[in-house]
Symmetry: D3
């Protein structure tokens, strides 16, 4: 994955908050000349994500650390498998262990969590989308983890796609005015989505030329009616209160997109640990 | 809470990743002259945490936003209660909504999660500690959330307390050498903790003058034996695989500290939402 | 306009490079108690752009400076008109004068330059696009200036739209493979454009589902043939060697987009000056 | 040239604004293992400037890119000549192409523009100076480009030389008071220049000990009179409304310096392009 | 020593303030191809400190500079000894000379100054502590220099230990309330110290459970009485107006800690110089 | 004084290194509602310097703190005088006390130290110059303090004046070649100084057109001979091993400049303390 300046800033923050003025234990007990080996091991079945971030954590502290893995982000790992082999200065391995694991455990946790949602939709012609409900500062990483778990990204932020909600509609004086105004203002390469709560609004958004219409908290009957109404003229997305058990029913309606905040905000960290040995 | 430079950098990262080159929807549809009101509402029972961070998110975008709350971090909120009242430019309320909620939902999620652990220990003479298993970049905030939920903080990072683990012991040539060496090197105000796996090591750590001895993955009988052996000469901490249901049994042994990574790494976001209206 | 963190960093760089360790002349000759007035005046006909950036320059040095203007970015100003009235500390007016003018002159220069292109296309159903040929570090500002001059923005950078060029096509093994691969990888909200040099490629790009097809350096006959071939199934953009005098001919072909690097890379600064008086 | 921290910050801003969260096209279509070659070619006659900046752009994205050139900044290049040869990862060549060219085209554009002014003054005992009318954030680079084109730099900013203008004179109570006051306050290594509009002021500035006297918008007769009056006791600079066609006449007066904002603010980018091939 | 992000930021500031837009002398007179040697030599007897900082200064400007020394921080060097051998680009040696020496001279100055205090306490069972009276921005480095000179560090800052002073006591309503309140709020790993001015306060602080009691500006009789009163139940520190000549008397009282601001705030730079030769 | 971005970065570093994750004592014992007063008092006779820096320290932590002083930097203060009155939140006064004092004590220490040198030269036609031997990161502040103590600044760094030393002369092939080469390369506003060790070199530097000639470690007879030789055609500076007691003798030779590293590198902090009371 590309480690953008934003991601590198976050890695720096993470190392700074942990190391601060120094690793008082390691700095005073482990000689810089002592070399060591390490292994990151899965303690449960998981989808791995964030390997390049973990590698960068070690490189930031010691450019000579060797970080090797036969896996790629998105691979399924079984409990007990060794995911990463490390070698280099023992002191650097000890100092970086927790920060590297914290990244890997959280990102793999999301990938694994998304994997269960993606499995439930296997073979169905629907796209599973994430949302902007991500941990502050980790948006890029968590959206990347969603992809490695089998999901698809909705917009990255407020800047790369239009999403017109009720307040915007009210401010513009109606759906049609809002869409017209925004089309004139933004680049033609930008997707315009409108949030709707009933079929009348769906009709108005479609007529105004929205690319995607979000059906907010509609029940299955309303969703089916919206799909019939729109009839392929634009894309439809369901959103709001999506849980794993509703997924199949929703997908069977023929909806284009299902977006789900729980993919990121309710994933728990998976269990990975690191064994370290002096050479 | 004190918003340190580290926390302010994280807030900046969070706003940058969401707003990027601009909120294309709001910037083109909502006039800067339109004023609005907002309310952040609890959608489930929770312990609130992160109010000052949420306030700062709005202030960063618009210094004139009014953010008012009758609550303090650590207060218990019931489903349906209004937590925060906001007023000011409608555009700023819309642009900041998601970032502010992402902070509040995660930090209150941790506080609420810790609250259930703290409740299980109510009245017992034991201290519940967090670990360094926090989301990268959010260490200060998540440790703060632990406190508002009723927990106590273990060390902030590698720099503010000594924790001697097996690799350090091996590198130093034994527990007693490790403790002696570190005592000579660090300030007298620094706490020295040693990780042990059996009673022999407990004895050696105590003799060497450790302030705290961590009992790593010991069972209840070993823990009781360690407590008897140490007999109040230093503090004892249990760690490793702690779950909610073991807490009472562990506490009843008379142990001083129980540390638990799940307090931070396995908390899910709680549900808070924001209602916004133009004036 | 929204002053994003990126723009604020650029303003900081601009003030730092000019002020450095201090304005040695003003700091030693003008008392901080002396107040003054200023006026920014157009020395030629122009379209103004960058007023909020100029305001921020003054605010960065002295938050109490009053910066008032009856105009908005995009307004046409005639030679001799006063564009901005300023009042506040004389020392701050003197220190900021050049940096504020440098921003205004460059951005208004682009807006004015774009204005002549936009005028040449007045009434024709074609969209005038800018390119990524902007001054390094000023991308957001210069793209904003294009909009205030009557142009439309193409993608902001490499991250917010796909543009498949010959090297990408070769790497993927063909246009159709490239488009298919990219559709699977990126969000559905992302526009996919393909650069083509002959009708065969246009056909292949259209069949593969490109949203926009760029006709690179084609002559008018080829352009007309491409328009006929595509027949409205996707958008067509001409690019390469566009000059003011070709615009009308190009527009008359019925092309959707004309993109032109000269809008930004060949604009000269317009003449604005600042009169300052002590009160 | 020395790539100062300021210049490196600007390069970072330039890469960030273009790459953002990633090069969506290249990242998904070009394997990191594919190697390639590139060539930067002049599409018109020009003076090259900014080679080290362009090299750094590639290095920032991929430290292994080879960037080779037989030329030095300031060399004259003919249309069609290859200026730079590149080899390394194809993906990095594609991602950096536009940002590197944007720097080279702008800086070489200034150098080439200055070259025509310098040529007009060839053999005359006068120094051609730039001004502070540079693109915000690019001061160091554009002043460097002026030097490579055959010009000389006036002060870098407000901090490294004194320039006393009418407002400063008024605030100090006269030219002589201003010069006296500033001499007492600043280092003896600092040059003091005074802006004047008539011979009386020239006399006063000379008597006060100014090192350089600027003749603001004076006609040729006034300039000759000033030169006669000063008679070599200090340096004289003409400024204001200088165009290419006046240069020879001005130089023939025997003036020491001619300063000209158009050197930087009215240069257009020259045409350079990059050919890229996979190996 | 560990070069933390804080220290690296300070090194960057130091190089920026000296080099600014370039080393005008060296950049124009010394070819980048010319290689050279250098030697840093002690011009007086001293304890060396800051070698890794000096090495980093050179590396920041030229990663290829070789910096070799047979010494470690804390070693005693005699007048005339060569401390460091350098080789690499002559231009980089010249540009970095002053900044590297400024670090070494100040840090070695502190180490050497502390060395005279430590020598006066040789063999006595007392610990010599520094204070927070350090040069702003150099806290970590100066505290490190204290250690290399034979001193021990008191807290790094306001964040890593509690020091309750008169204003805190008044705000809390008494020593005992202050200690009780702080114990409930902070981690158990944090040391709590109370500042006292008489025996009554010493008694109260001891009863409240302070780990260290500071005796502020007490005379020898009071100090002896405090020691007798406390009788080893907690640590005692003397502070205030400590000079080299009082040290032995103070130590002979049996006090645990002597803290002394003069260790850092009154050290002068020691004399080190650098000889440079072209190869 | 002007608080440049560089100075503000240093103030931020200073506050960060002291406050870190929070002022654990004050944050838990002093309510944000408690107001207080403070007074900064001189504990010895001194020249005050750095008042604006101290004010900014408080403002950074609490924008509402009132910081009032009847004095200006450079004023002589007598032991016991109150220099600054403060009022505002008690917690902010306590948190900032040490950082503000550390700045004031160091800068006033330099000003006071310079004051004794300046007094020794009172009435003599010689200028007392500082050097680049300043604390890393504090260059601007310490050079400012020198001015407030009655000294004059030599160049700020390597970028704002030329100083040609033996290595530069060797690299260029002689003094005359070095001066000629540099004159062609740098702006005419830049001062050129040459370091010399004997009269032959003085002659050569003068002939080459140096503005200032430094006489390095010459004795009084050589200095007098150099003055006679140069006879006012350029300025002369003595440097090297200057101490307070030589000053008068040196000045009596008629030399133009005396530069002295001890002004900054050997000043000790003066004694200032802060009294704080709750309201």
């Amino acid at each position: 994955m590309r480690l953008t300046p934003h991601i590198n800033k976050l890695i720096d923050l993470a190392l700074e908050e942990d190391i601060g003025t120094g690793d008082v234990t390691t700095d005073h007990l482990v000689s810089p000349d002592t070399m060591g080996n390490g292994a990151i091991v899965a303690k449960e079945d998981l989808i791995i994500s964030g390997l390049d971030v973990a590698r960068r954590v070690f490189e930031c502290v010691d450019a000579d650390i060797k970080f090797q893995t036969p896996f790629q982000d998105g691979d399924r790992i079984q409990k007990g498998q060794k995911v990463v082999s490390l070698s280099g200065r023992l002191s650097a391995l000890l100092t970086c262990e927790r920060t590297a694991l914290n990244f890997l455990q959280r990102l793999s946790g999301i990938a694994t969590h998304v994997g269960t949602y993606a499995a439930a939709l296997e073979g169905k012609p629907v796209t599973l989308l994430d949302t902007r409900k991500t941990t502050p500062g980790l948006r890029e990483l968590e959206k990347y983890a969603v992809k490695t778990g089998g999901g698809t990204n909705h917009r990255m932020g407020l800047y790369d796609a239009v999403l017109i909600k009720d307040n915007h509609i009210a401010a513009a004086g109606g759906i049609s005015q809002a869409v017209t105004r925004i089309r004139a203002a933004v680049s033609d390469t930008m997707t315009i989505e409108v949030e709707t709560t009933n079929l009348e609004e769906v009709q108005e958004a479609m007529d105004a030329g929205a690319h995607i219409i979000m059906l907010d908290n509609m029940d299955l009957d309303e969703i089916r009616a919206a799909i019939k109404l729109v009839n392929g003229q634009c894309k439809l997305e369901v959103s709001g209160g999506i849980t794993l058990k509703h997924l199949a029913d929703l997908a069977n309606t023929g909806i284009d997109y299902i977006s789900c905040g729980a993919l990121t905000h309710s994933a728990r960290a998976v269990d990975l640990s690191m064994r370290i040995n002096a050479q």
